[in-house]
Symmetry: C2
């Protein structure tokens, strides 16, 4: 007997038919004698519908001609949290109709306590003294994901994708044996199968690799949920909710490095199209220049990702190139133009037609030659690299967006990711 | 300065435009220096949408071929209460955008405590120690109607129309000066204006009269909300939410008899088409016979309304006629057929093509001649009366449904309800 937390996202509970199917998957785990808590998102489209109501109301300019009254995130949270409230009740009913004992739990009923930041709250504490005994008595707990309650008794939400974090945090609080994240894909792949037909589902992946992949745009799991699982040594299984109860549905286990079992250097190739490149031309090359640029960006609330500084061959002046999120580009350019005198550069150019492609692998720590393989593979296809950034387990390059698919396929081939690697000799 | 509770039903908050309009009406009261709490229903159609989800899910027969798992009212309540949660948040935002201080309050946040009966809970207690001081500090409280929380911390709902009761109970708990119920009509009329074109809006009506009218089918206010207001001497004003802020919008004040001010015998003519008539023919006339009939109906969970016992001229045997709700007719007939030997009657007939028409007036207590005027008016139009029932302030007759409009108009004329009555000489 194990204690399991299962999490189902919006597409998995999109309508009553899907909710009944989820009930069959939950029933299968419960019948095996396990204690089961289920975390659900809102029915897909529902959160967007509620957010659109708030946006439309908020966009309304009152007669006074300007918007009054300050922040509305507390009310936003109360409104959008209703989506998960509905799904949790419906799934509890579907489970009862299969003869199981089940009840819904809202964030404030557990309570799942958060900090005071509305619409992007962080979990402070999960009280297990009510829900834990209920599980032990054989009740299935159906928990509304994405929501909590703060110290003033107002509903808070964890931000988009927060239901993953709800599930992992709940699993930690309940001392669950594992957390199963059901989604619309059947696991984590070596790369996007829409780009490389021979992409392969990974049986296991290390937490650190998953973190790099998640933050690089392979958005299967919310980054914070992976961090939380890693810090608490809680295995996460990513698997599809589309399979039938009783089917073999192995998914991908996200776990500690020493449990990954396979001998491999690179685990996957990720890409992100959400990038934009900015170059400052002919900077006055003096100390503190990069710090000034970073300060201008921070003041504009823009995150800077890859940075490279180079010497222009033509005029021997320094250029600085860096990337920001595509949606932040306009803000970033405005802030730079404003600070041009302060920073001291001659001209500014930008390009939002770029993609960041990365290879990720925990084996890179102990293997050399990954960079060489990577740059040879890109050069072979005539792909020009604009910017390079590396971490201990990742190498990222910025390339012209036109070459995205070509680069992903070339790297997937170069690291032979379509083939299952040999098992570790020292595997436990 | 007064403390006022305003309540808006589903059609008054049907969409964002209506919600903004409600905000303008609330702002008008708040600008007058009043402390204001607002109780809102779900956007119209929303409760029906949520109930339909539950019904469709619940109607589903699982593979086992029968429904399992017992009651679902606790989850039903959690699901449908989300409708008011959304409206309360949206109205709070609309008020802030007008520069006012406002926040939403859900049932469990107040808390509004109820008994354990799900989907038709009764209010046990309203805690005013949080919401009261918030009002005193100049915040507008936007309260989700229809919902509360029970002693186990589950969400409960008060049943359809429960938002009226939420509003009145909140007004009592907050020691409000009055409770304004905004609806889609501009007050209580002497009769249905769709039937009698000269129906007149009443400026004031006594609680007792309102109770008789509400239970007779003039469904502007939920019966329990009127009882609660009467017991706590809280004036209710019924008025339209369709007027503009600042308009003269007097509505109808529901208050104690001695504050009604006008000298009149009959205040209104009500009708209900939800009736069915049952006659038991040639009963063995022995003691306890009526009690047996009532027991059979009670066992079948059917309420009996009007009862009349007569002697058939043809065969000198006793007949018993009574009315039940139209929707209960099939159940009632089945129960009577089953108990035919026990009760002892020869035959059974029923008619669901009947209407109950009533005249209601607190002045009937001290004035004679109302019955005579009523029956003469009906006889003049050739309308046959099947059953008669009276209370201290009401006379009801059961007639063929074909004559409904004719009877209502004849009675409205006979009691000259189109004309404003003189003021009481002794009015305060």
């Amino acid at each position: 007997m194990a204690r399991i937390v299962m999490k189902f996202g919006g597409t998995s509970v999109a309508n009553l038919e899907r909710i009944r199917h989820v009930a069959s998957l939950v029933a299968e785990e419960a019948k095996g004698g396990n204690e089961v808590a289920v975390v659900v998102s809102a029915m897909s489209g529902e959160t967007n519908r509620l957010v659109a109501l708030v946006d439309e109301l908020d966009a309304d300019t009152p007669e006074q001609g300007h918007r009054l009254g300050g922040a509305i995130e507390d009310e936003y949270d109360s409104i959008v949290a209703s989506g998960e409230q509905v799904t949790s009740g419906l799934l509890a009913i579907a489970l009862r109709r299969r003869g199981l004992k089940a009840r819904s739990w809202l964030g404030w009923q557990i309570p799942l306590k958060t900090d005071m930041a509305h619409s992007k709250a962080r979990i402070a504490e999960i009280e297990s003294s009510a829900i834990g005994p209920s599980l032990s008595e054989g009740n299935i707990a159906v928990v509304a994901g994405f929501q909590g309650v703060n110290d003033t008794g107002r509903i808070s939400t964890l931000g988009r994708g927060g239901s993953d974090t709800s599930a992992v945090a709940l699993a930690v609080a309940l001392k669950a044996d594992r957390c199963d994240i059901y989604t619309d894909v059947d696991g984590i792949y070596t790369t996007d199968p829409r780009i490389a037909k021979d992409a392969r589902r990974l049986n296991r992946i290390a937490f650190e690799e998953m973190l790099e992949l998640a933050s690089l745009g392979a958005k299967v799991l919310q980054t914070r949920s992976v961090e939380l699982a890693m810090n608490n040594n809680l295995p996460i299984r990513v698997l599809t909710s589309m399979s039938e109860a009783g089917d073999h549905n192995p998914g991908t286990l996200v776990c500690h490095e020493d449990e990954t079992m396979e001998e491999r250097v690179v685990s996957g190739v990720a890409y992100s199209r959400d990038e934009a490149q900015i170059t400052l031309l002919r900077l006055k090359d003096k100390p503190g220049m990069v710090a000034k640029v970073c300060k201008a960006m921070a003041d504009a609330n823009v995150s800077v990702d890859m940075i490279v500084q180079g010497i222009s061959r033509s005029d021997n002046a320094a250029n600085l190139t860096f990337t920001v999120g595509k949606r932040d580009l306009d803000n970033a350019l405005a802030a730079l133009e404003k600070a041009q005198g302060e920073i001291g550069f001659e001209a500014l150019k930008s390009d939002s037609d770029v993609t960041k492609v990365s290879v990720v692998g925990i084996g890179m720590r102990s293997h050399t030659g990954v960079a060489q393989t990577m740059f040879e593979a890109l050069a072979d296809k005539g792909i020009n690299v604009e910017v390079i950034a590396t971490s201990e387990i990742k190498i990222s390059v910025l390339i012209d967006a036109e070459y995205t698919e070509l680069a992903v396929r070339a790297l997937h081939n170069a690291f032979e990711l379509h083939e299952a690697p040999p098992l570790k000799v020292s595997a436990p």
